[in-house]
Symmetry: C2
Subunit: 117 residues, 2 copies
């Protein structure tokens, strides 16, 4: 049994997804976000954002969506997006094993992959 | 943007998973459960249970686990299990498109597949 808030309590840094579960070749990851991420896309896969606590925004080329606690969104593969949170927001990501957080746009915010908590 | 509680408000029946989102060839489904389900397994895939509201149990051959709100569990493929909830519990399932709720054990509780809300 995996308790999401217990897992969130195990780390404090932002923009570093931690794996909490694997289903077939997909992973469930928790991440705390605050401030602006970088524009990026994942050319091979959709990516699911589920807001567990707080609120966040995802900027797209032509619109910005807001996600509150208990809301989710599927970013289609290949679509440029930039996550943002004014205050710390706790998010669960669902995506195939091996997906890098910054997609094709690696840099300072690129997190180590496949880190379990 | 998909609001889980708004989606749950759209149906009242038990044990009938409704699709709310698709990520690649996987689906996110909401289901309200109450009482006992049937023993079954999914021979081809793991299955994720995430409790959105309430609490539930999953019986396995040698143990029973309890899941409360904000907790999740990955039932490994091929493992016999029987979900149970004393009072109504709201659950999100994640599994590949095409998975039938009763697995190999079809019967009265077998729900129509791929029903979106």
């Amino acid at each position: 049994m995996i308790n999401l808030q217990d897992k969130f309590a195990k780390f404090s840094e932002h923009w570093t997804p931690k794996v909490i579960a694997e289903m077939n070749d997909y992973q469930f990851k928790l991440v705390k976000i605050e401030g602006e991420f970088v524009w990026h896309n994942h050319s091979d896969t959709d990516e699911v954002f589920i807001v567990v606590e707080g609120k966040m925004k995802i900027e797209f080329e032509h619109e910005t969506i807001e996600l509150n606690q208990g809301e989710m969104y599927v970013v289609p593969k290949g679509v440029q997006h930039k996550p943002y949170a004014e205050q710390e927001c706790k998010v669960m990501l669902v995506e195939p094993k091996g997906v890098v957080n910054t997609g094709e746009n690696s840099g300072d915010l690129t997190a180590q992959n496949d880190v379990w908590i």
